[in-house]
């Protein structure tokens, strides 16, 4: 048995050497990246964008959830209000030199404002250039969720500013939708 297993082992080793040698005569499978472009699945997690809702307003409500959930703390933003009492970020910065593209911010965001896109070509010569602010992050479209409008789903309408009394229609708590 002992001798048999040795011989069997030698044969399997020789076989794997031979198979590897055969690979020398096959086609190469590497995609030569800058010359050939790559297909990336729509759910690939790359550069982060801030989207707008179908009406063209900014989705972000400066709730800070993304900043809190971010494992490497690369999102920083500050809340401010407009005349009607609606919150929006005064500044919004993502440091892409630290971001690990985990997608947790996208999960956490209640308004689907922050989204990860399949764009991964982020390299830069200067580290400072990788800190993107609100102007760099915002896109004019809705991103991956075309019809989602947070204020329609949650049923909160801001009419005009009343001190500490924003008119709100109650949320349907039986509904599973966000």
């Amino acid at each position: 048995m002992y001798i048999k297993s040795i011989i069997f082992g030698i044969i399997t080793q020789l076989r794997s050497i031979f198979i590897t040698l055969k690979h020398a005569f096959q086609d190469r499978e590497t995609i030569l990246y800058p010359e050939n472009s790559i297909y990336l699945a729509p759910r690939y997690r790359g550069r982060i964008v801030l989207t707008k809702d179908p009406d063209g307003n900014n989705r972000c409500v400066a709730c800070n959830l993304c900043s809190v959930v971010c494992p490497v703390s690369c999102i920083s933003l500050q809340k401010t209000q407009d005349q009607s009492g609606r919150w929006f970020p005064k500044f919004f910065k993502i440091n892409f030199s630290r971001c690990i593209f985990c997608g947790l911010c996208e999960e956490a965001c209640p308004t689907t404002a922050i989204q990860l896109t399949p764009d991964f070509e982020l390299s830069d010569f200067n580290r400072q250039d990788l800190v993107y602010n609100k102007k760099n992050l915002s896109i004019s479209g809705t991103g991956k969720y075309h019809n989602y409008n947070f204020y329609q789903q949650s049923g909160v309408f801001i009419t005009k500013r009343k001190k500490n009394n924003i008119h709100a229609t109650p949320i349907n708590i039986k509904d599973l939708l966000p």
Binding site: I6, I17, H23
Partner: protein, 313 residues
């Protein structure tokens, strides 16, 4: 005198250049065996990759850690670089193309290969780093078990040739290459030679996945480069010795001798690289087990039978 010095200097330079070039060739060949491209960006098909690597190594900070034993730390890569490079001196390329004709040719190779383990021992110990020390310990254990039959496996060839001289050994293979009558000696020498130059699958001292590079983990810049090129030099030397001992040196039809020698060498080196692409690294104790339980008895049997047949004739 001056001419002799220049001659040796140029030879050494050429050998070192090819040793460094081998790193590029190895990466391209590995790519070929694994269905991918190797370095192909710098220069024509990546041919200037070597220069890019040189620039990177030369301009990297050559840091000697403050916690290390600095003398041994500096000496270790020099030993690694020099020890097997010196063996190149007594390798005959042709019946009369050699630098020095040593009567103890093959013994010199064994001496130098035994010395080369000091580089790893010193590097691992002086780095004052546990991964480096573990790598060094593994290298010592591996050497202890493989050095034994590294010497014994070529004794059959020496018995047949009645000489330690490399030229005599090649001349004794005029009619039949030693690989056929000494097949088991060849197999075990191949294994021991791989273990000697720490090539895959016997790269225990530096296994990246477990030891994060083993004995040269603290090295950077040109000191790392010396370890790096030293490994390729030892690979060249081992394949040259295999060619001389078992593949009939410069014998072959039609072409001049040194071309045959070079061709056989290249086949050996490509085979080494193929082994690297094909075989996984065994566990540490499996390597020792394989050395002592399987290879040593085979070499001893081979030695006994060779002696028996030589006595019969």
């Amino acid at each position: 005198m001056i001419y002799c010095f220049l001659h040796i200097f140029c030879t050494v330079l050429i050998i070192v250049f090819f040793g460094a070039m081998l790193s590029f060739i190895e990466r391209r060949l590995l790519g070929l065996f694994q269905n991918r491209y190797g370095p192909n960006r710098v220069g024509w098909f990546g041919s200037l990759q070597l220069i890019a690597d040189m620039i990177k190594m030369l301009f990297k900070e050559d840091w000697i850690p403050t916690f290390s034993r600095s003398l041994l730390f500096v000496v270790a890569p020099i030993i690694a670089f020099i020890s097997l490079l010196l063996v190149m001196v007594d390798i005959p390329w042709d019946n009369n193309t050699y630098i020095i004709d040593l009567n103890i040719g093959i013994l010199f190779f064994l001496i130098m290969s035994a010395l080369s383990v000091y580089s790893i021992l010193f590097a691992g110990w002086s780095s004052n780093n546990k991964y480096a020390l573990l790598g060094a310990i593994r290298a010592i254990a591996q050497t202890l078990s493989y050095e034994v039959f590294l010497g014994l496996s070529i004794m059959g060839v020496i018995i047949k040739a009645h000489s330690f001289n490399l030229i005599d050994i090649v001349n004794s293979q005029q009619y039949i290459w030693n690989i056929i009558p000494q097949f088991f000696g060849f197999m075990t020498f191949l294994v021991a030679g791989l273990a000697l130059c720490h090539r895959h699958p016997f790269d225990q001292p530096e296994s990246e996945q477990e030891l994060a590079d083993g004995y040269h983990i603290e090295y950077s810049g040109m000191k790392f480069g010396m370890f790096f090129i030293g490994q390729y030099l030892s690979m060249m030397v081992t394949s040259a010795i295999i060619t001389i001992m078992f593949l009939g040196g410069w014998f072959g039809p039609w072409l001049p001798g040194y071309i045959w020698f070079l061709l056989k060498n290249i086949v050996c080196i490509v085979f080494f690289i193929l082994l690297r692409a094909a075989l996984p690294r065994p566990r540490y104790d499996q390597i020792l087990y394989f050395g002592w339980i399987i290879c040593l008895p085979i070499t001893l049997l081979n030695l006994i039978f060779t002696a028996f047949f030589v006595l019969l004739h």
